[in-house]
């Protein structure tokens, strides 16, 4: 591939081998976020979904149910409005809004700035509500501990096969709005079979964020990461003023 192209042209062609990962810059920033968070025992969840799956409702409910035992902060990614951030603050958690404009996903540098603004105290839980989109956000590591995918029974059972990269990138899948199952033609088993075909390691929870069904498993998952073991909890870290990456 290097010898042919301009063999007849006068100036010599200089080939430079790069082997440079295209998303290297984001990957490095995400690792810095991860280190910053881990040093403060802060657990970050990256919440992903298509628009309208009920992510914000899920977060509101999670904040109301866990807000007394955990210090919860939220980074809201939205293309234009700050409606979601206001809903989150009304539910009782500090929130910062990132408007991505035409951008279809959050990246690690946006999250770094948002962390700087939020300044969560050591031991907190941070939820990042990504832009509603099942394609682009799958590719961008933010430094989170887990990627959590929220789908609802008003979407098709073939979502996992249409958006396999997203289903593969996540470790947790919440199937939301199960209170609507009596009214929609949605086969839960078929959806879960498809999801596990794409990612056999997915942990799946069936929930209704509006009615409260099935949220115990999700909450335990959060607690397991946020409060790994009270006996082995780190000593109190002096809340350092070092700025986020």
């Amino acid at each position: 591939m290097c010898k042919d192209s301009a063999a007849t042209a006068a100036p010599p062609v200089r080939t430079i081998h790069l082997d440079h990962p295209i998303l290297d810059k984001n990957a490095r920033l995400a690792e810095r976020n991860r280190g910053w968070l881990e040093a403060r025992r802060i657990v970050a969840f990256n919440l992903l979904s298509s628009p309208g799956s009920g992510k914000t409702t899920l977060l509101e409910r999670t904040i109301r149910d866990l807000g007394r035992e955990l210090s919860i902060h939220v980074i809201e990614g939205d293309q234009a409005t700050d409606n979601d951030a206001r809903r989150i603050e009304a539910a009782g958690a500090p929130a910062v809004q990132i408007n991505t404009g035409a951008g279809c996903h959050l990246d690690a540098s946006m999250v770094s700035k948002a962390l700087q603004t939020l300044d969560p105290k050591p031991g907190s839980v941070v939820f990042v509500e990504n832009v509603g989109n099942l394609v682009c956000p799958a590719m961008f590591d933010l430094g989170e501990a887990e990627k959590v995918l929220v789908c609802s029974v008003t979407e098709g059972e073939d979502k996992p096969l249409k958006y396999p990269h997203m289903f593969r990138a996540c470790t947790v899948l919440l199937l939301n709005k199960i209170d609507l199952l009596p009214y929609v033609a949605f086969e839960v088993d078929r959806f879960i079979d498809n999801a596990l075909l794409v990612n056999p390691a997915l942990e799946v929870f069936l929930v209704s964020a509006s009615r409260g069904d099935g949220l115990g498993g999700w909450y335990d998952r959060i607690r397991r990461l946020a409060v790994p073991d009270s006996a082995s909890r780190w000593g109190e870290v002096e809340s350092s003023r070092e700025s986020p990456p």
Binding site: P11, T15, H17, L18, I22, R168
Partner: protein, 109 residues
């Protein structure tokens, strides 16, 4: 469409490495199982490189095929989409190739 951002990233990286020299050719590797569409990159490239030292560069995109190994029975096979089922029925697969997303090389004029 994440290909626009990805193409901007590609152009920034090659321009920085070229140190002002004009770039005649760029060789990318975009695996068949990656979530990136080569045609979309080609479409965005003219726009992103306009007015830079990468303008007019030939874009060569290699597309390594998807290759997996079944964790159940160790059989290796090809995939053309990012999931699949082994002949043994297993779906837990180790990805050996097809996720590449890198700039392999460039030629300076």
């Amino acid at each position: 469409m994440h290909e626009l951002g990805i193409t901007q990233e590609i152009v920034e990286i090659v321009i920085a490495r070229a140190g002002g020299a004009r770039i005649a050719r760029i060789v990318l590797e975009v695996g068949k199982l990656s979530a990136v569409l080569p045609d979309a990159i080609r479409f965005c490239f003219d726009l992103c490189s306009e007015g830079t030292s990468a303008e007019g560069a030939v874009l060569e995109i290699l597309e390594p095929p998807g290759r997996v190994r079944c964790r159940g029975c160790a059989v290796e096979f090809s995939l053309d989409r990012p999931f699949g089922r082994c002949v043994c029925g297993g779906t837990d697969l180790d990805w050996l190739g097809g996720e590449e997303l890198s700039i392999k090389a460039m030629e300076l004029a």
